[in-house]
């Protein structure tokens, strides 16, 4: 990982900013963030595997209004870094575990940034209300700077955890299997819960069941 650390860090910051502040092209989705981190590390399969699991977790999130949500994008970059190189269930379980912790920290950090942004707005209320363009641009760009710093810190912490996590987590073969099972089970639960929110109404549920039947047919006959 160390020879690609710079690229991983850059990717982690880009992914962190894409979550809300810059563009929102959804490179921050774990599927994309994890796969690209895997490409950077020369192991796209490990990257996409942790990306798929974390994407299921992310399906539970509806980022509406003032809701608070984990930063699964930077989590997926850290998860891919932790998972690369480890075979099968070993890497996936440890990687996703690291990814969940980083996503949690990232979500908490977003909240802190937004509280600090609000404080900045309060400090410049008079200028903002008076239509001072320097105050508008200043508050906006300082807020952007805070999110850059947040993304940088979370990406650094994530990659540090990815480096030391697999060494510190006391895992034997049985523990690795348990971890893999727990992560996949929890991811499926998250996705089902997310779908439940999408299909709250009866007609939505019908379409979901239809899709489920098609997916099952695809698995059985595919």
């Amino acid at each position: 990982m160390t020879e690609n650390l710079g690229w991983l860090m850059l990717w982690g910051v880009m992914v962190g900013l894409d979550l809300a502040s810059v563009m929102q092209t959804m490179i921050t989705r774990p599927l994309v963030a994890g796969a690209v981190a895997g490409f950077i590390l020369g192991d796209p399969v490990s990257g996409i595997t942790v990306g798929v699991v974390l994407e299921l977790f992310a399906l539970e999130v509806l980022p509406v209004g003032a809701s608070r949500y984990p930063d699964y994008g930077v989590g997926a970059v850290a998860a891919a870094a932790a998972a690369v190189g480890a075979p099968g269930v070993f890497g996936t379980g440890v990687g996703v575990a690291v990814g969940l912790v980083v996503a949690y920290l990232g979500g908490k950090a977003i909240h802190l940034v937004r509280v600090e942004n609000a404080e900045d707005v309060r400090r410049h209320r008079r200028q903002l209300d008076a239509g001072d363009s320097a105050a508008v641009v200043g508050v906006h760009l300082r807020s952007l700077g805070r999110d850059v710093l947040r993304a940088l810190i979370i990406a650094s912490v994530g990659l540090l955890l990815a480096g030391v996590g697999p060494l510190w987590i006391p895992l034997n073969l049985q523990g690795s299997i348990y971890l893999g099972i727990a992560m996949v089970g929890a991811a499926i639960a998250a996705a089902v819960t997310g779908v439940g929110r999408l299909t709250g109404r009866r007609s939505g549920l019908r379409w979901f069941v239809l899709g489920l039947a098609g997916g099952l047919a695809g698995v059985i006959f595919g």
Binding site: A35, G185, G196
Partner: protein, 244 residues
């Protein structure tokens, strides 16, 4: 004004950078609107520019991709010289619908659909195909919507409400939810089967048990727990069991 529209269009990509608990995207709206207000009589030192920018910086909420509709419309009515009270009423009236239309169309529609397409391709094709397909499906609609919103807002002005009832938007709202349910429904068993492909039968029972506990907790017992915290709790339990 064309240059102002281009600048405002580019600035919409940063709309949420100053999101805060005080005015939500209010400051972001002012940041985007600023290039569109420079041509007001008196220029950037004029009273109308300052009053308009001050109004733009007040509390506002809306989906980030559709906020351009409000930005364009509010800038237009400032140029049309409508009374400040009427402009404030228009701003207040747009807050709710822009949020709810965007949330239904994008967060509960387009995003899960693109995600499901990416997930299925990750399993059935390749990581590169999954990433490219996801980004294409999502961003074609995303950027089209952003571009349309600011232009439609500017051309509509006070009549902007009619644009929210545009046939294409209505159709999008009608199909977004069912399409999301259908595609995510399809993707779930495909992905689940792929993730457990090397798992023994008794381990599969463990996956099913944890999934069932997670769903029951989230839906009926502890809805505010969240998947992230449930996942971390599952990590802790797995580590303890492995250690024992």
């Amino acid at each position: 004004m064309k240059r102002g529209m281009i600048r405002a269009g580019i600035r919409t990509l940063l709309i949420q950078a100053s999101w805060n608990y005080e005015r939500l995207v209010g400051v972001g709206v002012a940041f985007i609107s600023e290039p569109l207000l420079r041509d007001l009589p008196g220029g950037v030192e004029g009273e109308r520019y300052k009053a308009a920018l001050g109004r733009a910086a007040q509390h506002f909420n809306g989906h980030p991709y559709l906020v351009g509709l409000a930005v364009g419309a509010l800038a237009r009515v400032e140029h049309d010289g409508l009374p400040p009270e009427q402009i404030t009423r228009l701003r207040t009236a747009l807050t709710g619908p822009l949020g709810s239309v965007g949330d239904k169309l994008i967060w509960a529609g387009l995003l899960p659909v693109a995600s499901a397409v990416g997930l299925v391709l990750a399993v059935w094709s390749s990581p590169a195909a999954a990433v490219i397909a996801f980004l294409l499906v999502y961003n074609i609609v995303h950027f089209a919507l952003r571009g349309w919103a600011i232009k439609a807002g500017w051309s509509s002005g006070i009549e902007v409400g009619k644009r929210l009832g545009a046939p294409t938007l209505k159709l999008g709202l009608k199909v977004a939810g069912p399409l999301a349910a259908l595609t995510v429904g399809f993707a779930l068993p495909v992905v689940a089967a792929w993730l457990v492909r090397h798992v023994e039968a008794h381990e599969l029972a463990g996956v099913g048990l944890i999934a069932a506990v997670g769903v029951v907790l989230a839906r009926w017992v502890w809805p505010t727990l969240g998947a992230n915290r449930f996942g971390m709790a599952a990590v802790a339990v797995a580590l303890i069991l492995g250690w024992l």
